[in-house]
Amino acid sequence: MTAVTVAAQVADRSADLHFSAEPGSITAVVGPNGAGKSTLLQLVSGQLRPSAGEVRLGDTLVAGPGVHVPTHRRRVAVLEQRALLFDHLDVLDNVAFGPRARGVRPAAARRRARAELDAVGCGDLAARRAWEVSGGQAQRIALARALATDPQVVLLDEPLAALDASVAAAMRSLLRERLRAEHRTTLLVTHDALDALALADALALVEDGRVVDAGPVVDRLTRPRGSFVADLVDVNLLPGRLCAPDRLDLPGGDHVTGLASGPGPHPGPHPSPGPGSQLGNAPDAAQAPGATGFACFAPAAVAVHADPPGGSPRNHWAATVATVEPRGALVRLRCVLADGSPVAADLTLAAAAEGGLAPGRRVWLVVKAAQVTLYAR
């Protein structure tokens, strides 16, 4: 089990990355395209040399002033979107490649390869040519190949992105099982909140070449603190001031009533102090009145009315329709509150048509209090 510590700059990519991962932890790395997720992985794998700063694997300095340990001496395995099996070898020799490259005798390398193949459920494919297996099988074999080298660190770069949904689900549980069993320090780049939640202990958010937030994954996904993660998990997130444990005042004068969420301790990594930390990692504050906080609710929980609703629902806000996007059988309505906060609402096609909901239309948004969670910051 090896810790990963990065405190490095890459000048030509305007990246200044400060990151650390506990030994044996799995960190989901999320962020917009081009934000620097790949740069972080390449710094760890050794494909990229930092222009300043250093990278450590455990106690070993692998990149720093005057030091650059090449990729093949770092014991950092990489699994990409594409399995990238070696087409000229059969499946068994693909998996035995790493041990062989490290000088393990052929018989021993094949024994190890067979064990790894069995562990990913592909033992029966050992004699196949690499190009004869399916995409899902290829990715399993690629995982076996990566783990057969006893890596100190495993880098997973969107390993499920190229797979069909059904295959991806099986691969996700295989990854979970294998990575947990091996206790290997892992960095997982993903665009899928579900993957992060299912596989990772910790979440690191990379934006504009910086690690801007890092923390326990459950905490960071259920209490998103920035629009990127909120979009990732696909929930509405309204920042405001908590005036009571169950009430949040919005800057525009509206208020939100919901269920208070208590703080919970989570194991996981923490960002190193440095210029990269903008949000920092403030400990969960008690939900003291007057503290800043967030309201969190799903777009499907939002009802849209053309007129002021009758009765007195706990949460009702005037809003303006900004955009209307069809999403399969649903319509995603993006509205703006008086203070400019965006709120997404999912309606059926029929409901949207009935209400004549077009951009610019004034509407009323209604959400049941039971479907809103309030978080403190």
């Binding site: 494909q47 093949h72 395995a77 990489v78 990238l84 000229h88 490649f97 190949r145």
Partner: protein, 261 residues
């Protein structure tokens, strides 16, 4: 839907390309073929062509493969210039190639003169034939291998490095096997081009039976006086060319192309 009138010019093109080639087997004196191909001059030419082409192909692979691998990894203006220079001999008129070799490796050439002072003479030797063949044929190896390496990409090499393979181990166990079909194709093309080399050889190496008179030079020599021999030897060249092209096509079909989503 293809317009039907396309068939007319297409048929003309096909006929123009195939009829002259078919003419050779039709006109060859098949009964005399063994005798025609076993005259001392013919045997010398066949043997010399075989030996020099194998040598030229070996040199092209040993020197051209590293250049192709490096070029495939290089971008930027310098690489572009190198790539252009390397492909130039492919499109150069052979006689120009011969003159270029002459003013370089000839007795008074930039490289030949110092060598000559040391008592090493290249002109009129079998070595000169090999040099001429390498000069015109190696570009075929370089361009086919470089193209294949670029197409294959470097992702697998990155994977190999992450699995602990040193750059040399990666080269020998990933890059070369992955590009093996292209290497085979390039090697076949190189051999075929070396076998057909005529202009640079006659300009630079001269023509002497058993020393520098390769198959094409022998055909040129006997074509007026002894058409039967010239046709018989030409048939050998056509057959080798046909086998090379067929082999190349077969190899490129055999290359696995997995559909990576």
């Amino acid at each position: 839907m293809t317009p039907r009138w396309l068939y007319l010019p297409a048929a003309a093109a096909l006929a123009f390309l195939t009829v002259p080639l078919l003419g050779i087997p039709l006109r060859v004196a098949w009964a005399d073929l063994p005798a025609l191909l076993t005259t001392p001059a013919a045997l010398d030419a066949l043997g010399l062509s075989l030996v020099t082409c194998l040598a030229a192909t070996a040199v092209s692979v040993l020197l051209g493969l590293p250049l192709a691998l490096l070029l495939a990894r290089s971008d930027g203006p310098l690489a572009g210039v190198v790539r252009t220079l390397v492909t130039l001999p492919m499109v150069l008129p052979p006689v120009v190639a011969g003159l270029a070799l002459l003013i370089t490796f000839g007795r008074r050439g930039t490289v030949g003169a110092p060598l000559s002072a040391l008592g090493i003479e290249i002109g009129f030797t079998t070595l000169a034939v090999v040099l001429a063949q390498v000069f015109v044929a190696m570009p075929y190896l370089i361009t086919s291998v470089e193209g294949a390496v670029r197409t294959a990409g470097f992702a697998r090499e990155r994977v190999a490095a992450s699995l602990g393979a040193s750059p040399t181990h990666t080269l020998l166990h990933v890059t070369v096997p992955v590009t093996a079909p292209a290497l085979a194709t390039g090697t076949a093309l190189t051999f075929a081009r070396a076998l057909g080399e005529f202009g640079a050889t006659i300009t630079f190496a001269g023509a002497l039976q058993g020393v520098t008179r390769t198959l094409p030079l022998e055909i040129y020599q006997v074509r007026e006086l002894d058409t039967a021999s010239a046709l018989a030897l030409s048939l050998v060249l056509v057959a080798v060319a046909a086998v090379t092209v067929a082999l190349t096509a077969w190899l490129s079909r055999r290359t696995p192309r997995r559909g990576v989503a």
